[in-house]
């Protein structure tokens, strides 16, 4: 099962490992098709379309998939109790993680700060 968004989906932990090794800047939103997650997917879709963040790869991942343990169990997500878990990877390492809904300004602030073009 995947999420019905227009983002590229991460289906397995192995796939995520490959993506973050092969791409310098990666943003992954791990959630469900729920009220707090959908706005974040929508922002990511628009940012991807805008062309302003071509240096960032945008993905989503289904929170309830056993494979999503690779995100759920990150030390950076310890204490998270709100969907979605959004994780930002630079050169394969987690540089930022957020819990619960985020707005456009919050997301672009992180992208601009962590993934300077």
């Amino acid at each position: 099962m995947t999420l019905y968004t227009n983002l590229n989906h991460v289906e397995t932990a192995e796939q995520l490992g490959k993506i973050i090794q092969e791409n310098e800047n990666v943003m992954v939103c791990c959630g469900r098709m729920g009220p707090m997650c959908v706005p974040v997917y929508g922002i990511m879709e628009d940012l991807e379309k805008s062309g302003k963040y071509d240096h960032v790869k945008f993905y989503d991942m289904l929170f309830d998939s056993p494979e999503a343990g690779i995100i759920r169990n990150l030390p950076e997500c310890r204490g998270f109790m709100g969907l979605p878990f959004t994780v930002y990877y630079k050169n394969g390492k987690v540089v930022k993680a957020t819990s619960s809904i985020q707005n456009l300004d919050q997301i672009t602030d992180i992208l601009d700060d962590k993934f300077e073009n």
Partner: protein
């Protein structure tokens, strides 16, 4: 300059409906939203009382409305970074931070509302780390735990009952000495053995480290405070209209809601308003759709009158 017949600010059910009607009437319409289309509707897990759909997610209903508006020719701009809005001149304008300017002789404000936050120390720090505004999204993180629900209306009481599916104990903290909910909701809550309540009280501080550990509760009549250890807090204390940008420009009531006449026109000629941001009693998707319909029909008449 992008010239349109009508600018609609807000792509919730009111704005999208207005967009559908006006674009179907061959008017050139742009719908601009700071977020994604759907407004608060997209934050609704399941919609079971929208005619024609036994059950549909708020997300799908939003996408259907957006698609319908676009099919009739409306331009929808989501996640727009809005720099300035001018409602005063004959040509109303919206300027985006990328320099694009949208102009039209008529305007519909459909900016909706958002969940009210408590606004005390620690609230933003622990959002997603113990504080939540969505029971269906985050309830399962609190399985077997003790939680607080803040609020005393229908939503608070219904969500408190729903959260007992996960939490072993739910305490409702309410600022008044009486509930503001329907009797059926009160009865269901009172019959649930996992729920108790603290009346005439409010949370004045959230505390914790990696996640929320405790709250400070004030008993309002006496002002006395005490610390209550807790695993999570769900907040359901109503909504605030998204009208801050129009203060001093549009006539607002004491709650910040836009005052409109029977045609949904504001105090400014050519500027209409619809949906959750206006003065009204019932806020439902169906009432927003109704507002959007009536406002757009009056806008069409206004456009005819100035041509």
């Amino acid at each position: 300059m992008n010239q349109f017949d009508t600018i609609i600010l807000g792509a919730g059910p009111a704005g999208l409906t207005a967009g559908i009607y006006l674009s179907r009437a061959k008017r050139k319409v742009v719908i601009i939203d700071k977020g994604i289309p759907g407004g608060q509707m997209v934050l609704t897990h399941e919609v079971a009382n929208y005619p024609g759909f036994e059950n549909i997610s708020g997300y799908m209903l939003s996408m259907n409305m957006k698609k319908q508006a676009e099919l009739f020719g409306a331009k929808v701009i989501s996640n727009a970074a809005i720099k300035a809005v001018n409602l005063v001149d004959d040509q109303k304008t919206v300027t985006l931070s990328n320099g694009e300017v949208y102009s039209a002789p008529s305007f519909i404000v459909a900016t909706g509302g958002r969940s009210r936050q408590i606004g005390v120390n620690g609230e933003s720090d622990f959002t997603g780390r113990g504080i939540s505004y969505c029971a269906t999204c985050d309830g399962d993180f609190f399985t077997g735990k003790e939680i607080i629900v803040v609020g005393g209306g229908n939503t608070a009481l219904e969500e408190a009952v729903a959260l007992t599916t996960y939490a072993k104990k739910v305490t409702i903290v309410h600022q008044f000495d009486k509930w503001q909910a329907f009797n059926s909701a009160i009865q269901e809550m009172e019959e649930n053995p996992a729920i108790d309540s603290i009346m005439e009280s409010r949370i004045v501080e959230f505390r914790g480290d990696e996640k929320l550990n405790e709250v400070v509760i004030e008993h309002i009549p006496t002002g006395s405070t005490y610390v209550k250890p807790i695993d999570g807090v769900f907040v359901f204390i109503g909504y605030v209209p998204n009208t801050e940008d129009f203060k001093g420009i549009l006539e607002l009531n004491q709650w910040g809601e836009i005052v409109v006449d029977s045609t949904f026109q504001t105090n400014l000629k050519g500027v209409y308003a619809a949906g959750d941001s206006i003065v009204k009693r019932y806020r439902q998707i169906t009432t927003a759709v109704s507002d959007g319909t009536i406002a757009s029909l009056n806008v069409a008449e206004f456009l005819n009158s100035i041509e």
